[in-house]
C-alpha cells in the first residue's frame, strides 16, 4: 500500500489500520532468547522471499570472556570477504583488519563478560546472489568495530548462526527484522 495522507475527521478504518501495521517499513520477523553458556545460536527459516534485506540485533547478552563474534550464513564456511575498522575507546587512531576469504563474517561483534551484541544488516541473504553484511559490534567496553563484508557465494540462505570465536555466549535477545519491499 502506498503512503496515504489522512485528512481531519476522516474515519480511520480497520482496513487502513491493519494495512499500515502490516506494512511498516521495518517489519519484525522473529526473535529468540539466547541460552546460558552456549557456543552458538542458530536461527533458521528467518530469511524468505518476503523481504530481500534484513536487520539483526543482539542485545542484552555477554560472552564468557573477551573475544570476537562471528556470523555464518546457513552452513557455508568459506568465501567471506570482509574489512573491519576498530579502535579502543579513547584512542585517537583507528586500526583495520581484513580477510579476503574467511570462514565466516568474523568480528560482527567484540564482547566480553560484561556485554556483547551487534547491530547488523544483511543485504539479500535469501537471494541466489552474493550477500553483503554491514555491522557495528557493541561490547567489551574496550573497543568498537565496524565490518563491511561480502559473502561470495551465489546461494539463497534461510538462516544464520552467530557465536563467539572461543568460549560461550549467554543471554539477551536476537531479533530479526525485514525491510518492507513496497
Amino acid at each position: 500500500m502506498a503512503v496515504k495522507t489522512f485528512t481531519t475527521n476522516e474515519v480511520l478504518t480497520s482496513t487502513d489500520t491493519n494495512t499500515y501495521l502490516a506494512n511498516a517499513g521495518l517489519v519484525y520477523v522473529t526473535s529468540t532468547t539466547v541460552g546460558s553458556a552456549v557456543s552458538s545460536v542458530t536461527v533458521s527459516n528467518c530469511f524468505s522471499s518476503t523481504y530481500d534485506n534484513y536487520k539483526i540485533i543482539w542485545s542484552g547478552g555477554n560472552f564468557s570472556a573477551g573475544n570476537d563474534g562471528y556470523l555464518q550464513l546457513g552452513s557455508s564456511t568459506a568465501s567471506y570477504a570482509y574489512q573491519i575498522v576498530y579502535a579502543n575507546f579513547g584512542a585517537g587512531a583507528v586500526s583495520t583488519y581484513g580477510d579476503a576469504a574467511g570462514a565466516n563474517f568474523r568480528y560482527v561483534t567484540e564482547g566480553d563478560a560484561n556485554v556483547a551484541g551487534t547491530n547488523l544488516e544483511l543485504i539479500g541473504p535469501n537471494l541466489a546472489k552474493y550477500t553483503a553484511c554491514y555491522s557495528v559490534g557493541i561490547g567489551s567496553g574496550v573497543a568498537y568495530m565496524t565490518l563491511i563484508g561480502i559473502h561470495k557465494v551465489a546461494t539463497a540462505y534461510t538462516g544464520f548462526t552467530v557465536g563467539p570465536l572461543a568460549g560461550t555466549m549467554s543471554g539477551g535477545t536476537i531479533t530479526v527484522y525485514g525491510y518492507r519491499k513496497a
Binding site: 520477523v29 532468547t33 557456543s39 576498530y86 572461543a166
Partner: protein, 42 residues
Amino acid sequence: MTMSDPILGTFHDAETGETITRELTAEEIAALPEPAEPLITE
C-alpha cells in the same frame, strides 16, 4: 568452561517460533569455527 562441560547451542526456528537449547552433536561441534584469540585484548 572445562573439557567436561557439554557444548551447548541455542536453536530457534522462525517458522514454528520454537527455541531450544541443547547439547551440540559431534557433527555440529566439528562445524564450529576454530577457536581464536581476540583481535582486541583488554
